[in-house]
């Protein structure tokens, strides 16, 4: 399944590293990354994919929660399907 991760919060050292490391542990392959700063506000959008036969999206959402807490950012993980449905004809 392809997923979109959005990470938002106050910028500080190591957010991308922490998120990427955790995703690797959860066997999520990162396909694309885009990151911007608006003032001190960090926004990252990542596209990833994982094998649905070995894991569920809920497990991945649960899996990144400790990272979100320790890095003090908000991490949303959604199926790519909702964005595709809404924005492509």
């Amino acid at each position: 399944m392809k997923i979109i991760l959005t990470v938002t919060g106050l910028d500080h050292v190591g957010i991308i590293a922490a998120v990427a490391t955790r995703l690797a542990e959860l066997e999520v392959n990162i396909l694309n990354v885009s990151q911007t700063l608006m003032g001190d506000y960090f926004t990252m959008i990542m596209q990833g994919s994982f094998d649905e036969t070995t894991r569920t999206i809920e497990e991945i959402q649960e899996g990144v929660r400790p990272v979100a807490e320790s890095a003090q950012v908000e991490i949303r993980i959604q199926s790519e399907a909702i964005f595709q449905a809404m924005h492509t004809l």
Binding site: T6, I57, I82
Partner: protein
């Protein structure tokens, strides 16, 4: 990347800030194969069929919610009108059927179950009459059962005998639930031109022309439409319509996606997406605010009907292209109690029953969740139902009436329902009597354009 980052952030903003959500995933279940001359046996089959078919409904919805990151507020069930099912039995009272629906719904964990219904637009069978007589107790003695009665159609005219009866039933229901200021009436809808695939409560039932089991979806996104309009201040109204269409497209696509996924995972047919924008009493989730964004100081003032016509039509045009099958009511919902803008307008006296009636004539679904003074007579309630039915019949559209005689309360006081049902300021009704008109009963014949063959 599949999409621009702006699109991704827009979707997230819609969900988190503009309160875009799926109002309901409703499973329609046919009970025709549960008919039995023994009422006990029929009810056992009803319970078994509902709990089997809908066993996974709640968990599947939860999975979709997590996967897509969009809230699904209610999970509901609609069944075949019970008058058709219970008619074969010798039961004189159908309250037990309501209780079994209640038990089955609670067993599978859904929020509401609709279909304690009768279709009497042209005439009533003894079973229909028994069902109608059972409604007040059925609603008072169950928690999540919803009831509806179709009393008029463009083809059949208005069954004024049934209209008269329904005024009495609404009153009785209010009296039996008087401790909650007539809360039972929030679960009772009187229809003209009822539709068989409506996913919204309290008027959902599963028509006989439907497949054995289907899932349908209703979306909620007035906040999204309002935000889209905020971005184009001062543009002409045709540009507003264009903006609404685009927002409607996006909202409806999510409904289509959720419905498709739910149907696939439940192994049943996908029914329809209902294009109605469903508001809630929360700030940021109001249809009235969308109308105000178009330039009205407050909803209810002159221009409201025109603004609503624009909104409703643009929602449909945007939504139609976004999904494979549109159905249900697909109108605008302007329930008084469930929309913060409507609540405020009613409390301030800015909107009246007469204006609401005009709004329903052109595009909205009906007089919905309107609290009237507790002493309003059954005949006056019937006359209100007749007015709405006339609008529906003459305009080939669905109209619905969900009136709450607020027992013990007068104009200006507020009935608190809580949750999705919100709160309703009691609105004044006309005081002159309609008693003699309603007492005539009989039928108002269908209009000449009811015969289109």
């Amino acid at each position: 990347m599949i999409d621009t980052n702006a699109n991704i952030l827009e979707t997230i903003q819609m969900i988190e800030e503009d309160k875009l959500d799926i109002r309901t995933v409703t499973m329609g279940i046919s009970l025709l194969d549960c008919i039995d001359s023994d009422g006990e046996a029929a009810r056992r089959r009803i319970y078994d069929k509902i709990t089997t078919r809908a066993a996974e409904l709640v968990s599947v919805c939860r999975g979709i919610e997590a996967e897509l990151g969009i809230p699904i507020i209610n999970r509901r069930i609609a069944v075949t009108p019970i008058a058709l099912i219970a008619g074969a039995s010798s039961d004189e009272d159908y309250v037990e059927y309501a209780k079994i629906l209640d038990a089955a719904a609670q067993a599978v964990g859904v929020d509401f179950i609709g279909g304690f219904s009768a279709l009497v637009d042209k005439g009533a069978t003894p079973a229909d009459e028994r069902l109608i007589a059972s409604i007040p107790r059925a609603l008072a003695e169950t928690d999540v059962v919803c009831s509806s009665v179709n009393i008029a159609s463009s083809r059949g005219g208005i069954n004024m005998t049934a209209v008269k009866r329904m005024g009495e039933v609404v009153r009785e229901t209010a009296e039996l639930t008087a401790d909650a200021h007539g809360f039972g009436c929030a679960k009772l809808v009187v229809f003209a031109n009822a539709v068989s695939d409506n996913p919204f409560m309290a008027g959902a039932f599963h028509g006989v022309q439907e497949a054995d089991c289907v899932v349908s979806v209703g979306v909620s996104g007035p906040g999204v439409v309002k935000r889209a309009l905020e971005k184009v201040p001062g543009v002409p109204l045709d540009a507003c319509a264009e903006t609404i269409k685009k927002a409607a497209f996006k909202i409806t696509r999510v409904g289509q996606l959720v419905g498709t996924l739910a149907a696939e995972r439940l192994g049943v047919e996908f029914g329809i997406v209902d294009l109605s924008l469903a508001p809630t009493a929360e700030v940021g989730d109001s249809v009235a605010r969308v109308l105000e964004e178009l330039g009205l100081e407050t909803v209810g003032t002159h221009g409201t009907t025109a603004a609503l016509a624009l909104l409703n039509d643009a929602m449909k045009k945007g939504g139609l292209m976004a999904c494979s099958r549109v159905g249900g009511l697909s109108g605008s919902f302007i329930p008084i109690s469930e929309d913060i803008g409507m609540i405020e307008a009613a409390a301030a006296g800015a909107i009246t029953l007469d204006k609401l009636e005009a709004m329903t004539a052109i595009c909205s679904v009906g007089l919905d969740m309107v609290a009237v003074p507790g002493e309003t007579s059954a005949a006056t309630l019937s006359a209100m139902i007749a007015d709405e039915a006339a609008i529906g019949v003459m305009n080939h559209k669905t109209t619905a009436v969900r009136l709450i005689p607020a027992i013990g309360l007068g104009v200006g006081e507020v009935v608190e329902f809580g949750g999705l049902l919100g709160r309703a300021p009691v609105m004044p009704a006309h005081e002159a009597s309609s008693e003699v008109f309603v007492a005539r009963a009989g039928n108002i014949p269908s209009p000449v354009h009811g015969f289109r063959n």
